[in-house]
């Protein structure tokens, strides 16, 4: 039974993760333009990936916070806006080549490895591949989980809205879907286990039958 709603902006990398054989029994695509409370209330958690439609999220803010008020989890990755998240995201240059030019200096220097998402990660690079910006302000009761060398906030979490709101400028779903970084099974599997209690196993694989489709499960309303 699918437990995690992957908020879906029609982007291929989001789709690639949610339809991958190792994840598709756990993740349900929720097309952003179909998102409302009725579409998500049966789920344990929501995952809002990088490359999400920020104005559309703002329009559905009440549904997201109602979901949190039910005691559930929401994980947000990449950028965000203060119009729906009580935090300030700022852009920074993306360094996705540090492991080539300076392999001892990853973009994140401080990680709280007691957090369940990070606790089982065997190598520091599994906890940080690259970042898309930083947070210069977080909700007042947020706990900080990751920082960069400059002390800027990369990952935080708060329980002040009822459930758990987790936010990070990492981009695990987009990069895992793209498959140019091949170690992200570690992070995404750990994240999945934290969100829904079930840890996927095995290597990421793709199903060619999922490409060139005439309909998309989770977006039937939009294409009807």
């Amino acid at each position: 039974m699918k437990k995690i709603g992957l908020i879906f902006n029609g982007v291929w990398s989001h789709y690639a993760v949610a339809t991958a054989p190792k994840y598709r029994d756990l993740y349900e695509l929720i097309y952003i333009h179909d998102l409302n409370y009725a579409a998500i209330q049966h789920l344990d958690a929501l995952l809002i990936p990088f490359q999400s439609h920020q104005p559309a999220l703002e329009q559905r803010k009440e549904d997201l916070y109602r979901f949190l008020a039910d005691g559930k989890k929401i994980a947000v990755f990449g950028d965000s806006t203060p119009l729906w998240l009580d935090a300030q995201w700022e852009d920074r240059p993306v360094n996705n080549y540090w492991w080539v030019t300076d392999p001892n200096s990853p973009p994140i220097s401080e990680t709280d490895y007691t957090h369940p998402v990070y606790a089982g990660l065997a190598k520091p690079r599994y906890a940080c591949w690259h970042i898309h910006g930083v947070y210069t302000r977080t909700p007042d009761r947020a706990a900080i989980i990751q920082r960069n060398d400059a002390g800027e906030i990369i990952t935080w979490q708060t329980e002040q809205y009822g459930g758990v709101l987790f936010a990070s400028t990492l981009d695990p779903i987009v990069e895992h879907g793209v498959q140019q970084i091949r170690h992200l099974d570690n992070y995404v599997d750990s994240l999945t286990a934290w969100l829904c209690g079930t840890k996927p196993e095995g290597r990421f694989a793709l199903d060619p039958e999922c490409y060139g489709v005439d309909s998309v499960a989770g977006a039937e309303m939009a294409t009807a």
Partner: protein, 210 residues
Amino acid sequence: MIKALVVSNGIGGAAYYKSSDEIRYDLVEVTRDFDPDLTPYDLLVVPNGCDHVAMLKIRDQVRAFLDAGNAVLCCDGWFTNWVPGNRWIHDNSKATKDVRHFAKTDRHDLLKGVDLTKFDFEPHGMSGWWACGYIAAAPGADVLIEDTWQRAIVVLDETTTAGAIFLTASGPLGDFSFYGDADGISQLFKNVLHFLITRKTASTQELQPA
């Protein structure tokens, strides 16, 4: 001058398409009721990171747009079946370190001045960074660039419809010269635009009364 419509899904993917004396870009945002009027335009641009649920919703309009002789440029992974005749298939069976690009059929000089090693390696030496997967090209379409394993990575299809379909296997295409890319992606993009503008101008002249 030609008129182009760029599809935007709220992630800034339209930033690399700037109007000039030769082309004017308009932007259409994807909404729940996405149904853009394509009739004023000569070119539809579907940039990297676009919404292919929205594109599936308007596939009949896209087909009619192409059948009227217009053009589509899609530089993204179109996992839904909205591009006539051609499929993009995601694949991770090959190592990114082994990805190289090779010119194949270039009847319109679209690769003139293009350094394909810029597609092989990004400026810090990483390979396999540009495209993902491959294209199952339509019969008769030109495979402009193929990869190490002879899979179609860039395709120009002038046979499936009366228009022109230019596709990449998800590799971004736009004016990246701001980042110092003069003879890689940016040059290919300029060549493609020149081709599409010339093609449109020629077809318009054919329609003028004697």
